[in-house]
C-alpha cells in the first residue's frame, strides 16, 4: 500500500492509539493537516504552541498515556522548547511532532527554518530528524516506545515538508524489529535480587525509617504497592511535590510534603531518620536543602529506574535499579518471608516522636479579621472542602502552588498536576485543559497566580471553543508573590519589579471576553458562594478571581542553600520540640 508521508504519519499515530493531539498548523506541517481531516484523532487547536505542549503534559499526567503535540517549524518549534524541558524534568511521556523545511532547504536559513533537533537535544529524552518517508513508521514506533518506557520523557520527531509529501510503502514494525532499531536502549526494570534482600533486611532493622516517595511511584503505577509496603512495615511516608496523591494524605502513616515548603514533620522526620527508603525520588535540592547536612544519620535505599540517579546527589547504601512497582512488590515479598522467622526492630518510640511533632506543627495561618484582605489558604481550604475527592487539581508555579500542595487533601493518585522540576510559570491553564481532555468526567480545577495566569491565559479561548469546562481559581495578590516573599525575607523588604497591578487586567472582563464565566471574590463571605457557582457550571470554563492578601507568605520555609534543620516555621510556632 502506497501512502504519502503525511498519511503514513497519521496512520502511525492511530496505530499508537492516539486519540487526541494538541497543535497548531503552519507552513511546513501543512501536508500533515490534510489527512488529519479524515482521521478519528481529535485535534485541539491551541492559541500558542507552548499551550499545546503543556496540554499534552496535563493529558499525560492524568492518563499515564503519552501526550501528543503537533506544530510547525521554526518559531513553533522554539515555542515548544519550554514544555519539552518541563516534561523532561518531570519525566512526562510526550511525543512532539514538528514540521521542518524541505530536506533540500535544510541548512540554507530558509523561511521558518531552525535547527529543531539541535535546539531540543538537551530537553528531550530523544529526538530524530526524519530524512526519508519510508523511515516514518519505525521512527514513530521507537518514539512512543522511548517516551513511555524506562524513565518516561518527551521525544521529538522533526519531519521535513517533502518527507510528508513523498510516498512510501506502508509497513508497521513488530516489537522485535522496533527494538533492533534501538540496540542501545534496554531499560532494566527488574531489581537485583541480592539488593532487594539487603533492602528488606535493612528496612526491618531500622528504628527510625521513612519512606521517601517521589514522582517515580506515579510513573510506575506503584501507589498500591507503596501502600502495601507502608502498611506491612508500619513506616511513615513523605510524598514529594511530584508524588502528591501517590499515598493518601488522610492515611495514618502519611506525613505529606517534605522540602523547602514542606511541613515541619515531613522535613524533620527525614532529618532524624536512620533509614530513608527513596522510591522514585531523586534527592532534588528543594527536598534536601544543603546536601551535606541532609538526613545525616540515615542509611539510604534508593530505588530508581534511571541508573544515573543512583549516587548523583547522595551515595546510596543499597542502590536498586528497576521499576518502582516491581521492586516494591519484590521487597514486600522478601519482607513477608523474613517476618516468618524474625521480629522487626521496635519503632514505637519513633512513632511517638512523630505523633508529638504532628500535634505541634500542623500547617497554620492567621485567619483574616473582618474587613481585612482574604487569605489564600482560606480559599484553598474552602475549595478543597467543596469539591469531590477525586477532583484533579492543577497549579502554576509559586506561592499558590505551595499552598495548594500544602492545604489540599490528596487521597487519590493522578489528581495533582504541576510543574515541579522546571517550575514553569503559566503551566496551569493549558495543563488543566489537557487534564480535562484526558479525564472529561472529573472536575478539574486549576489554582493559579495572577502572574502565572497572564502568561498563558489565552488558552482559555481554546477551552471555550473546544468546550473543555475547566475551572480556574486565581489567587490574585497583584504580586509575583514568591519573588516578593524572598525580597521581603532576604532582601530587606526592597521590592524590585514584583508589583503587578490590582486594576489591570480586569480578570472578570478578560474571562468573559474569552467565553468563560468570570467571578470576582473580595471577602471571605463571598468565597463559598463563588465556588458553589463555579462548580455548578459545566458547559464552559470559569475563572474565579480571588483577591488575596499580598503580605501572606508560605511557611514553613527552609531558606535556599541552608540545612533543613534551619526550617523557618509559621509565626507563633516554637521550633524547640523539633530538636528533640
Amino acid at each position: 500500500m502506497k501512502l504519502t508521508g503525511a498519511q503514513a504519519l497519521i496512520k502511525c499515530l492511530e496505530m499508537e492509539s492516539v486519540e487526541v493531539a494538541f497543535g497548531l498548523p503552519g507552513g511546513c506541517i501543512l501536508p500533515l493537516y490534510d489527512p488529519l481531516l479524515d482521521s478519528p484523532i481529535r485535534h485541539i487547536l491551541v492559541r500558542h504552541e507552548q499551550g499545546a505542549g503543556h496540554m499534552a503534559e496535563g493529558y499525560a499526567h492524568v492518563t499515564g498515556r503519552p501526550g501528543v503535540a503537533i506544530v510547525t517549524s521554526g518559531p513553533a518549534a522554539t515555542n515548544l522548547v519550554t514544555p519539552l524541558c518541563d516534561a523532561y524534568m518531570d519525566s512526562i511521556p510526550m511525543v512532539a511532532i514538528t514540521g521542518q523545511v524541505p530536506t533540500t532547504a535544510i541548512g540554507t536559513d530558509a523561511f521558518q527554518e531552525c535547527d529543531t533537533v539541535g535546539i531540543t537535544r538537551s530537553v528531550t529524552k530523544h529526538n530524530e530528524l526524519v530524512m526519508d518517508a519510508q523511515d516514518l513508521p519505525r521512527i514513530v514506533r521507537e518514539a512512543f516506545h522511548i517516551a513511555t518506557t524506562g524513565r518516561p520523557g518527551p521525544v521529538l520527531i522533526d519531519v521535513p515538508k517533502d518527507v510528508l509529501q513523498n510516498t512510501m510503502e506502508w509497513y508497521w514494525p513488530s516489537d522485535s524489529e522496533m527494538l533492533e532499531g534501538i540496540p542501545g536502549y534496554r531499560p532494566n526494570t527488574k531489581g537485583h535480587p541480592r539488593m532487594i534482600r539487603e533492602a528488606a533486611r535493612m528496612i526491618l532493622a531500622a528504628e527510625r525509617p521513612v519512606l521517601y516517595a517521589g514522582g517515580g511511584i506515579l510513573k510506575a503505577r506503584a501507589a498500591e504497592a507503596l501502600r502495601e509496603l507502608a502498611e506491612l512495615t508500619n513506616i511513615h511516608v513523605v510524598t514529594t511535590l511530584m508524588a502528591r496523591g501517590a499515598f493518601p494524605d488522610s492515611h495514618r502513616l502519611a506525613l505529606g510534603m517534605p522540602g523547602m515548603h514542606g511541613n515541619a514533620v515531613a522535613v524533620t522526620s527525614m532529618q532524624k531518620a536512620d533509614l530513608l527508603i527513596a522510591l522514585g525520588s531523586r534527592f532534588d535540592d528543594r527536598v534536601t536543602g544543603k546536601v551535606s547536612a541532609f538526613a545525616p544519620d540515615a542509611k539510604i535505599i534508593h530505588v530508581d529506574i534511571d541508573p544515573a540517579e543512583q549516587g548523583k546527589v547522595r551515595r546510596p547504601d543499597v542502590p536498586i535499579v528497576g521499576d518502582c512497582r516491581q521492586v516494591i512488590e519484590e521487597i514486600v515479598r522478601e519482607i513477608r518471608n523474613l517476618l516468618a522467622d524474625m521480629k522487626p526492630a521496635d519503632t514505637s518510640a519513633w512513632h511517638q516522636r512523630i505523633s508529638g511533632w504532628q500535634e505541634l506543627y500542623p500547617y497554620t495561618y492567621e485567619q483574616s479579621e473582618p474587613g481585612e484582605a482574604l487569605k489564600p489558604q482560606y480559599c484553598l481550604e474552602t475549595l478543597r472542602d467543596s469539591c469531590p475527592t477525586d477532583t484533579i487539581l492543577v497549579s502554576g508555579v509559586g506561592q499558590h502552588q505551595m499552598w495548594a500542595s500544602q492545604y489540599w487533601r490528596f487521597d487519590n493518585p493522578y489528581t495533582w498536576v504541576n510543574s515541579g522540576g522546571l517550575g514553569t510559570m503559566g503551566f496551569a491553564v493549558p495543563a488543566a485543559i489537557g487534564a480535562k481532555v484526558g479525564q472529561p468526567d472529573k472536575v478539574v480545577w486549576a489554582v493559579d497566580g495572577d502572574g502565572c495566569f497572564q502568561m498563558t491565559a489565552q488558552e482559555l479561548v481554546t477551552a471555550s471553543i473546544e468546550k473543555i469546562p475547566v475551572k480556574i481559581g486565581i489567587l490574585n495578590n497583584s504580586y509575583l508573590g514568591m519573588v516578593r516573599q524572598w525580597q521581603e525575607m532576604f532582601y530587606d523588604e526592597r521590592y524590585s519589579e514584583v508589583y503587578l497591578s490590582p486594576e489591570v487586567p480586569d480578570f472578570v472582563k478578560w474571562a468573559e471576553a474569552m467565553g468563560c464565566v468570570g467571578i470576582r471574590v473580595d471577602s471571605p463571605e463571598e468565597v463559598q458562594p463563588a465556588i458553589d457557582k463555579a462548580n455548578e457550571i459545566d458547559d464552559r470554563p470559569v475563572v474565579v478571581d480571588f483577591r488575596t492578601d499580598s503580605r501572606e507568605k508560605v511557611f514553613p520555609m527552609v531558606p535556599a542553600g541552608m540545612a533543613n534543620d534551619a526550617i523557618v516555621l509559621s509565626p507563633g510556632q516554637d521550633p524547640s520540640a523539633l530538636r528533640k
Partner: protein, 179 residues
Amino acid sequence: MSMTSEQQPSHHIVSALVENKFGVLARISSLFARRGFNIISLAVAPTDDANLSRITIVVDADSAPLEQVTKQLYKLINVVKVTELDPRTSVERELMIATLRVASHTRGEVLDLVSVFEGKILNVGAEAITVSLDGHPSKLDDFEELLRGYGIVELARTGRVALPKLDRTALRAVKGKAS
C-alpha cells in the same frame, strides 16, 4: 582492581560504542558540556561493524566522577555500550604530525631526535620538515617538549585511542542499560 598500590589517574578513558548515525557526536558533546564534564581529547572512527563507531573520550578526572559520565552516556539512546579503561591496564596510542622550522645547522639534530623517537619524515622543505610520530601519548608529550626548542610551525595530534590489555581483566563493561 586494586587502586591502593598505584597512583590515582588524573584522567578517565571512556570508550563508547555508538550507532553510526549523524548527530551522535553532537549528542555526546552537548551532554558533556551540559553536565560540566571536561574533555581532554576525543577520537571518533567507524569500527569493523559498519553500523557502529567507537568514540574514545579522555575526561578530566577532577571535573567529573567517572560513574556519572558512563551513566549519563548510557542514557543516550544511540549509545550502545560504554567501557571504562583504566590507563594502567590498557594500551593507549596516539598519532602526531608536526611541521618544524629547521636551519641548516639544526637539521641534523632534529633528524637525530626523530630517529631516536622512531618517527617518520613525511615532507622536507628548504627551511622546514614535517614529521610524524605515533606511540603512547606520554611519549608524544616528551617529543613535543624536545621539539619546542627548534620551533614548531604547526602541530596536530589525533587524541588517544585505547583498548584493554589482554593479560589482565581491565575491561569493565558497565553492566545494566540506562533507561
